[in-house]
Symmetry: C4
Subunit: 230 residues, 4 copies
């Protein structure tokens, strides 16, 4: 069942280690199969080194376990909210990667300071508002999804393929689990360089609209010309 997607989700989880995005078990990747309406996600607290395709958990969008002997990631309700809201995305990553988390802890959005950012994010990487005590105490992981959705609003999530959850850390997403991990790596690199840019020039402004358009649109959209598949 969902053998191809499971292989992708397994690989994407292991890639979190390869790209230096996780310490211990601090992260998880899921993938969504729009045909069957099922998601595949990492089990909770299982180390990446020993993670096996049989450990993955299959759920429906209501969170019912369809296959798997282990408990799914404790962040599963956040993933479910995002898949339900955004039909464009089929992969989600959550980590506590060090640079993005530093921004999330500071409660600050990452402004567009250069073309690396503009190549992937069509504007600031937003930071969610703080959650209320009620949201935290009632259904914390589900409400984490809610504040992300609130912050993205009407924007196309593939144009802003990641976000900082206030006081917590980054979520990133994409057209597939692999693409979601790719965007998580970009977010981390952008967070690192933006912090250093600020230390050099605390008054730095966002890049011009024309440069943002140029870089984002040469990689994405109808007139894209970067890479071999355009």
């Amino acid at each position: 069942m969902l053998g191809q997607l499971k292989a992708e989700v397994l690989q994407a989880n292991k890639d979190l280690v390869k790209y230096g995005l996780v310490t211990f078990t601090w992260g998880n990747v899921s993938g969504f199969d729009r045909n069957s309406g099922l998601i595949v996600i990492k089990p909770s607290g299982v180390p990446y080194e020993t993670l096996n395709i049989k450990d993955l958990v299959v759920l429906d969008l209501d969170g019912n376990i369809v296959e798997g002997n282990l408990k799914p990631s404790s962040d599963t309700p956040t993933h479910l909210e995002l898949y339900k809201r955004f039909p464009q995305i089929s992969g989600i990553v959550h980590t506590h990667s060090e640079w993005a988390t530093s921004w999330a802890q500071a409660g600050k959005s990452i402004p567009v300071l250069g073309t690396t950012h503009a190549d992937y994010f069509y504007g600031d990487i937003p930071c969610t508002r703080k959650m209320t005590t009620f949201e935290i105490e009632q259904s914390y992981e589900k409400e984490t999804g809610t504040v992300i959705i609130e912050e993205i609003g009407d924007r196309d999530p593939l144009k802003i393929p990641g976000i900082l959850v206030n006081s917590h850390g980054p979520f990133a997403w994409g057209k597939s689990p692999e693409n979601a991990v790719h965007n998580a790596v970009v977010l981390e690199e952008v967070a690192k360089m933006a912090l250093r840019t600020y230390s050099l020039n605390p008054n730095i402004k966002n890049i011009e609209r024309s440069l943002l358009d140029k870089h984002f649109l040469r990689k994405h959209g109808e007139a894209a010309y970067y890479g071999q598949n355009q």
Copy 2:
């Protein structure tokens, strides 16, 4: 004698290298066997690469060597004080890991700025007061234990599983040598991200009590639901 504990202490010491917590011989791990009242600790100044199970030193809580041909870690008296005071802990780590030591040198506690911290430490990671000249000159390593104990006070050491010794570096502890090293890694990650958060927002405040409760208690205590063993 204590074969299982020795194996754990050996592995835990070698894990300091794996996790990037030590330069040269700047660190040590011990384990405590509550049944026999004996501790196993790294010898002083021996490189991790060649460290062998036969090099480990066994002592009683009064510091008498029960087994071993080498001198125990010079920090042994600190370990003894902590085991005597805190029956909850059976593993202790000391390192000069770079980020935690930077905070210790600054003489500052690490405030709870995010959920990574809250997942393991149920409040600030405290920094001890400076030691007096008398304490330093009389029985320095024993008094290092004293100031740690003074700072922890009536708190449960498993809820604050690590501390910064002022002008020196971190100690961490746990239910086992492995768990102590795990907490030392967490302390280091948290120290790193907190420093960067401060550089982005020097006026950042601690996270809300409800978020601290949520994260610490979903991993620890009776209502924990993170991982596979809850």
Copy 3:
């Protein structure tokens, strides 16, 4: 055709990974053969791991593809402008390396703060002016070359073998593809140390002219005495 140059360009592209200058496909190296007037460059968006000598693209200085089945790097027009203007150089590198890009995003030139810098760059590493909306919208990659050329002016490009493109990232160059990568590594190291020097001393001044002369000229020029080939 151009077998030796292709081998050098392939190796130089793979060295970007070895030296930690690139994430994903964020970089490219080209080489120029002055005899034939042809350049060899990395194809667009192809990963370094699988990059093969047959993937490389050969173009003339007008940008006409002479050999190769893949699209050349999207930054090719920048490379062409530089080869046309500067007969001294036969290798060009572009990356988004993290420290140099942080300076580029800050819009700041890197002043000569020490001898590491002076060993390779005979003055500040300049940052280009921002490009106009017209330049960005008309022929962006070509105009990137224009602003670099404008900034270098009458200086010898081998005495300033790299530059920061404002809001974007570094370009470096040299007598060969290998030499260009060497200079890109130097630029990155210098950018890293200069940022930290500023954090220690925001009022630091450039080194004295005599020290700059001494270090640059003991490695370069007629009276050079560093290394075995002088």
Copy 4:
């Protein structure tokens, strides 16, 4: 001739790479044999990867080459000055290691902010004065030794086993080439942590005299008790 010392110097040079202290050929180690009055040093500009025992150069204290087909390190005159002045040392290292060089570029001594520093350096790690134009232009590498000697003054160089050359980078030394590299690693770690401590607390003061004494003297001198050989 000097086979044992050559082996030590070769290993010490290669250890610069192992410990992450060098980029390209930016460093050199020498060793001194007090019996014969000869020094063994790395040749100039030769990569560490291919460095062979036959490449090493043997010189007397006047700089005359006694053995070897290659040119010695361009920094040889600095090494010679230090060996002539300080009979206590038999190994010298020079690098452009990133953290120590950042302090050297800032023109600042590294104050004793913690016990890691105090374990090896019995006081601040000094930064030399700037060299005069005359010193730079006349015999630069020899005068680099002079300003180091001037700064150390009457202090025991084994109690301050390293220094920052203003606008340049670190030199470290010790009882042997291996010990000199050890001290160069310590200097780099201490420089890194001190910079971060300053970023957390710009008003931090040196540690107390009693703590400095305790740590330095428990590792060094007659009453030392750290390690297995005391």
